[in-house]
Symmetry: C2
């Protein structure tokens, strides 16, 4: 029988009633002839409670013990989901990560999936079981200890199972009904996309759209897993949600698929840096060691051997960045005149695979912002994305203006 993977997030299994509703969706797919692998998260709130206990017990905790404690949330949901399915007379059983076994690296707290042997679960499907309920977010290390995959790791678990079992599709049930052209809370004209390419989804995920974990999209792209995002709170027909798929499965596409934003950015400028080979390493090495996530980097034209260098990072990492750069200056590793921080900026991006073949997207974007008197502070581009840093107070205005300019409210 064809295999379907269905993943239910924390809000979709928050109570016994919601688990029952999720189980009914599973039952419909079983009735439609699928063998189903269900991946479950912890009941919402549970993981936070467990993480809270660990942090209170030990601020610099042993990640192996953290994983042992935190993985228990998914274990509970998996058992309850299997019991609920059995009550509906659907042959089902639960698997914990170590029982599959979902083999991972030893990087506790952020382990990478290495192998998912399929014989154990497939044997049970062949023996008549219809649903395998698997605790998401967790696996087992080569040392035999429980590992977790990091926040949102249940999405990654789901995609990895879909790839390993050659599933027809991987349905991610969540509390939104799909991927939108932009955040509907900012632009009421935001439109749900029926389809989006892996590449675009990856850019949107990394730009802060919280629908899917970046790693799960990467994995889906690598193994060409058809990924569908849909709501567990609405009745869905076969066309519900958003299908994340390969570019060639998108018949008609617009030049720009969506507008993303990231509100809490900061712009840091090093004034008058000595422009010598190795200077970038001397600056960004210490920042990386200090745990600063540098995003955009721009270097001005050098004059008389000195240059200005600007980068962006999350606003809550500014103090850390300043400390790291002052230390580098004191040890003589970097020489700069001044360090200026602008903590009132936001990033706005347009994303679309159509950009590859269409010129003029950047020009249209810049003109649209100019028409609204929004000043652009930094620009970076990739093959399918243009991002700008602007004053935070103009962020909503810019998102709305770009959404209008690229006519995203209209279907392709």
């Amino acid at each position: 029988m064809p295999i379907l993977v269905m993943k239910f997030g924390g809000t979709s299994v928050a109570t016994l009633d919601r688990i029952r509703r999720a189980a009914k969706r599973v039952g419909r797919e079983v009735a439609a002839g699928y063998d189903v692998i269900v991946i479950v998260s912890a009941m919402s709130g549970k993981t936070n409670e467990l993480v809270g206990w660990v942090n209170e017990t030990s601020p610099f905790y042993d990640a192996r013990e953290y994983d042992a404690v935190v993985s228990s949330g998914e274990q509970v949901t998996a058992g309850l989901m299997a019991l609920t399915l059995q009550e509906m007379e659907i042959p089902a059983r639960s698997w914990q990560g170590w029982q599959v076994p979902l083999k991972t690296s030893s990087a506790h707290g952020a382990a990478r999936i290495e192998e998912i042997p399929t014989d154990n679960v497939m044997g049970r499907f062949e023996a008549g079981m219809r649903v395998a309920v698997v605790a998401g977010f967790q696996g087992i290390s080569p040392e035999g200890r429980i590992t977790t995959l990091g926040r949102g790791g249940s999405d990654t678990t789901a995609v990895a199972f879909a790839a390993a079992f050659g599933a027809e599709r991987c349905d991610i049930y969540t509390d939104v009904d799909g991927v939108y052209t932009t955040d509907p809370r900012i632009s009421p004209k935001a439109r749900k996309l029926d389809r989006i390419s892996f590449e675009e989804m990856l850019e949107l995920a990394s730009l802060g759209a919280k629908v899917l974990q970046t790693r799960s999209v990467e994995l889906a792209m690598r193994y060409n897993v058809r990924l569908r995002v849909l709501s567990s709170f609405e009745d869905n027909n076969a066309e519900a949600g958003t299908l994340v798929c390969a570019e060639e499965d998108i018949v008609e596409s617009k030049v720009v698929a969506g507008v993303a934003y990231s509100r809490d950015e900061a712009k840091m400028t090093l004034i008058s840096v000595a422009d010598r080979p190795g200077i970038a390493a001397a600056i960004f090495g210490p920042l990386s060691e200090a745990g600063v996530n540098v995003d955009m980097i721009v270097q001005n034209i050098s004059e008389e051997g000195r240059t200005d260098l600007t980068f962006s990072c999350p606003v809550d990492q500014v103090a850390r960045a300043q400390k790291a750069l002052q230390q580098a200056k004191e040890t003589g590793d970097v020489n700069f005149h001044d360090l200026v921080a602008d903590t009132e900026v936001a990033k706005v991006s347009v994303v679309g695979i159509g950009m590859r073949s269409h010129a003029g997207v950047a020009a249209k974007m810049f003109k649209s912002l100019k028409d609204e008197n929004v000043n652009i502070k930094v620009i970076t581009t990739s093959e399918i994305k243009i991002s700008v840093l602007i004053d935070r107070k103009y962020m909503e205005l810019a998102v709305q203006a770009l959404h209008d300019a690229f006519e995203l409210e209209k279907a392709a």
Copy 2:
């Protein structure tokens, strides 16, 4: 290094603060030179919450899924306890049942321990680890699924580890400070025992003293594990609590060690049963199948081929017993004139290994009850126990009178 097993029950690990207090006790034993195996229960309330979810999901649940859900409570405590010990700079790590592995039968929900390989944990002790924190109450079946040992199974886990590792002692930390001559809530003269024999403890446990699970005492007796019951809420010196040990380790002992009671009993009498071979099996077979726990059984002298037969059982099983016996009567398996239930009785017992060598214990017990005008309805005796069934309203009176008669307030 000598090994000590320390077990902490649910109230002793109910909060992070209490886990810290328990960890300090462990720290003291480590400082005293022991390698310690800590067995933990779930934080109190957690197991009930999980069991409640399972029951609400599925009244006739799959016991394998029940075990997967319910075992998660101990998993959390084990991780938190290991982290707490690490914070105190004591080398520690957690083990779940399947990691040890604690091998059990496949009787989910009430599995029997079959084997505890020691090489895994011993290897870590040899490498410098000082504390192994083990999730109590759980193991792994031959099929690789999580099993649980039944309520109170963490006591049994602790004793089994003490036996497997040849521990010097197994300390059970609980919310009482030891085993008493009787329930202090009934007799203010109740005295804590410094030592009690396995046999006596076993009788007291099976008679309803809730300090230790019966199976854990059986196991301790079989493997001669020195078992100490003590409070996790008081400062204990080396002589604290009650040591449960072999008879020969008790230097001076009284004839009677304690008075036990069981409040909610019922007395059932089958009037005029045909007295023929196999009649007991015909009566007690159906009762056992109906899940009735028959305790005392008395058969009167037969007259003209008919006899009266009396037995006791928990009062909440009376309806079940009546139904089973009526059915047996209707099918012709049993022939009796009438079935009379007295649901207002209680059982009071005196227990002591000294009875073996001292005559007159029964006579003294009966006289003491007669002096208080307490009528005895049923009597049963074993080598070290005499139990009587009396009207429930006299229960407290009887316990106090017997405690006085055998001078249990005085040390041996």
